[in-house]
Amino acid sequence: MAVASITEQSGRTVVALSGEIDMEEAPKVRRALLDSMKQKRDILVDLSQVTYIDSSGIASLIEGLQAARKQKNDLALVSVSQRARRVLELARLDKVFTIHADLATALATAKS
């Protein structure tokens, strides 16, 4: 249940992840993100339900970001848990991703 839901909200695709994103689950996240790209919208990845994420999970997020940028969309992270933030910081990717405090804030942000 790594990918809890994929919804469209205010012209963005919101991919909500949950649980433990490890080597076993990361491919599902990757697939979900790449599939979402087809909508050609900006993507918000909601990490509020993520209890564990490791390098495999981070790798899926990076791949998603790269794919989004390639088609001139953005991929931002939302409700990053303390745990996920720690891992992003370890990877020094906290500056690479746009991070929104919560979904409301993200949706209120003007489209890039």
């Binding site: 433990e20 490890d22 080597m23 076993e24 564990y52 490791d54 390098s55 495999s56 981070i58 790798a59 899926s60 990076i62 791949e63 790269q66 303390q82 745990r83 720690r86 891992v87 370890l90 990877a91 020094r92 990717l93 690479v96």
Partner: protein, 573 residues
């Protein structure tokens, strides 16, 4: 001394069958190794069969200058009498290689009357026959004065000629046997020397030991040696040497050097100083032109630290896992050439590497036109990959023998396998950790290398980290590092193939230690580099995470083919 069987010869009308005599004589000689006794016995029979008053057998000495009486029968014993070759009737028989028949001794100018004068015996007639084997005369037998007073006749001549020839052959055989006995005696002495040498080598090699040596001499005694012994603090002193030259002299110098090393190696803790002392001692005693090449050193199994000095010997070969082997060169002179030679101590941290020493019998081994060299040796050591170092050395020798080892030189090998030492230290550490005062084993589990298992393993690690007193963030870090390590094994070590992973967690006074073991081919830790963080690409992050969140992450060297062991340590803040 063996008792002599009397020679029984059938007598027929006063004449013995010469062939029977010859056969009996040969049997008698075959049964004893004492030539003089046999010669006496033969002469007694000759005198009896010839029916004469006296007889003597003279044999040429080694220089063929004198004829020495080796046996005599008659009223006077002239055994030991020496006559210059060529003089006397006997001498004439020898020089002319002809039977001599003298009717009136005192009318023959050649007659050596001195003996009669000394003994009071009166020689009337003489029959003397040369004793020869092939073309070589070895002496002569003479008989004096027929008992019936008659002159010697043709029949007497024939009988004596045959008996002389038989005796000559038998004596020659007995001498050959004697030489063989002497050779055997020398052989036994050589065996004794070899036995002494074997005692100078380490008694028995322990296959589980991280240090192991072997020597294959081409002769019983060797000019090669090696030694190793443990000092009270656990340090191992070791040496390998090769004495110039062959044979007993070389082996005596080898024995001297090995004894000196065993004696001095216990107290002198600086290899360069040890070499200087050995050099001085050997210079004092060595015969001119001989010298010893040698590597001697000290190895600490606990740290992998090794110090050594090289006196003109083949450079040691350093074999690091998954790296090109390198020679550790040195250019100090051999021992025993110049008393003031300077030696230097080299240092190396083995870090799980193998340290291989050999003598030139190994590297100069020829495969056809090509010498084996250190590169060839390097390859041969991998013949028995994954085996303890002792078995690997044996495999090298077996390969050389299979390739037709006809080396002119002894084969000697000595190897240190720091990987094995590390493992036994690990076992020792494991035992120490079982002691609750230092650290304790919390749990261990083994599971298939399958990403699906990650989720199941994490709660156990979490519980262990919490049990060690880590806060939530630290616990999550431990979880992250362990997860990354296991994923690395699945992807890199096993390459997504099936395999097993063993995990052990220990509580330490100030934190936690995780040991993660796989059974995949050895991974080169140097290749597992954290990614460059500026390089934003998926993957390659795991190792970086592990190093970032743990206080220590290191591969514990295991013998080749036994997999990989990663140790992770996290300390409390």
């Amino acid at each position: 001394m063996a008792e002599l069987n009397p020679i029984e010869v059938p007598v027929n009308d006063g004449l013995a069958d010469p062939l029977e005599f010859a056969a009996a004589l040969s049997r008698s000689f075959a049964q004893t190794q004492d030539i003089d006794n046999t010669v006496r016995e033969a002469l007694a029979q000759i005198v009896k069969l010839s029916r004469v008053e006296a007889g003597a057998i003279f044999l040429l000495d080694d220089a063929r200058a004198n004829l020495i009486c080796r046996a005599s029968v008659g009223p006077v014993d002239v055994t030991g009498l020496s006559v210059p070759n060529g003089s006397g009737i006997v001498g004439r028989a020898v020089t002319e290689d002809q039977i001599q028949i003298v009717e009136q001794a005192y009318q023959d100018q050649a007659f050596f009357a001195e003996a009669d004068r000394k003994t009071g015996f009166v020689t009337r007639s003489i029959l003397a026959a040369p004793m020869s084997v092939g073309q070589t005369v070895i002496g002569a037998v003479e008989v004096l004065n027929k008992q019936n007073g008659k002159p010697f006749n043709a029949e007497d001549q024939n009988l004596l000629r045959v008996m002389a020839a038989s005796s000559a052959l038998a004596i020659s055989n007995a001498r050959m046997a004697d030489r063989l006995v002497a050779q055997e005696r020398l052989q036994r002495e050589v065996e004794l020397a070899a036995e002494i040498q074997r005692h100078l080598l380490p008694a028995e090699e322990d296959e589980a030991s991280p240090i192991c040596g072997l020597v294959r001499p081409i002769q019983e005694v060797s000019g090669d040696f090696y030694d190793h012994f443990e000092l009270p603090d656990g340090t191992i002193a070791f040496a390998i040497g090769d004495v110039s030259g062959k044979g007993l002299n070389a082996s005596l110098l080898m024995s001297q050097t090995a004894s000196l090393f065993r004696c001095l190696g216990k107290t002198v803790r600086d290899p360069a100083r040890l070499m200087s002392i050995l050099n001085r001692e050997i210079c004092d005693t060595v015969s001119r032109g001989m010298f010893v090449t040698m590597v001697a050193g000290l190895y600490e199994p606990a740290t992998g630290h090794l110090r050594f000095a090289n006196a003109g010997h083949i450079p040691p070969l350093l074999r690091r896992p998954n790296q090109r082997s390198v020679e550790l060169p040195a250019d100090s002179p051999p021992l025993g050439i110049l008393p003031g030679s300077k030696y230097e101590t080299e240092e190396v941290d083995l870090n799980g590497a193998q340290f291989i020493l050999c003598t030139d019998g190994v590297t100069e081994f020829r495969f056809g036109d090509e010498e084996l060299g250190t590169e060839g040796l390097d390859m041969l050591i991998d013949t028995a990959r994954g085996k303890p170092i002792g078995q690997r050395l044996n495999a090298v020798v077996e390969e050389l023998q299979r390739a037709g080892w006809r080396s002119r030189d002894d084969l000697t090998l000595l190897a240190i396998d720091d990987g094995m030492a590390a493992r036994s230290i690990e076992q020792r550490a494991e035992a120490e950790r079982a002691n609750p005062d230092s650290s304790d084993f919390l749990f261990g589990l083994s599971f298939p290398a399958d990403p699906k298992r990650l989720r199941l393993v994490r709660p156990a690690i979490r519980a262990a980290a919490e049990a060690c007193g880590f806060d939530e963030n630290e616990t999550e870090d431990v979880l992250l590092a362990a997860g990354e390590a296991i994923e690395n094994i699945i992807i890199h070590a096993y390459g997504n193939r099936r395999g097993e992973i063993a995990l052990a967690i220990h509580r330490m006074p100030d934190g936690l230690m995780l040991r993660i073991r796989d059974f995949a081919p050895t991974v080169d830790p140097a290749k597992i580099q954290p990614r460059k963080l500026e390089d934003v690409r998926p993957g390659g992050l795991g190792t970086h995470f592990i190093r970032a969140v743990m206080d220590d992450a290191s591969f514990i060297p295991l013998p080749d083919g036994e997999g990989n062991l990663l140790e992770l340590i996290k300390r409390k803040r």
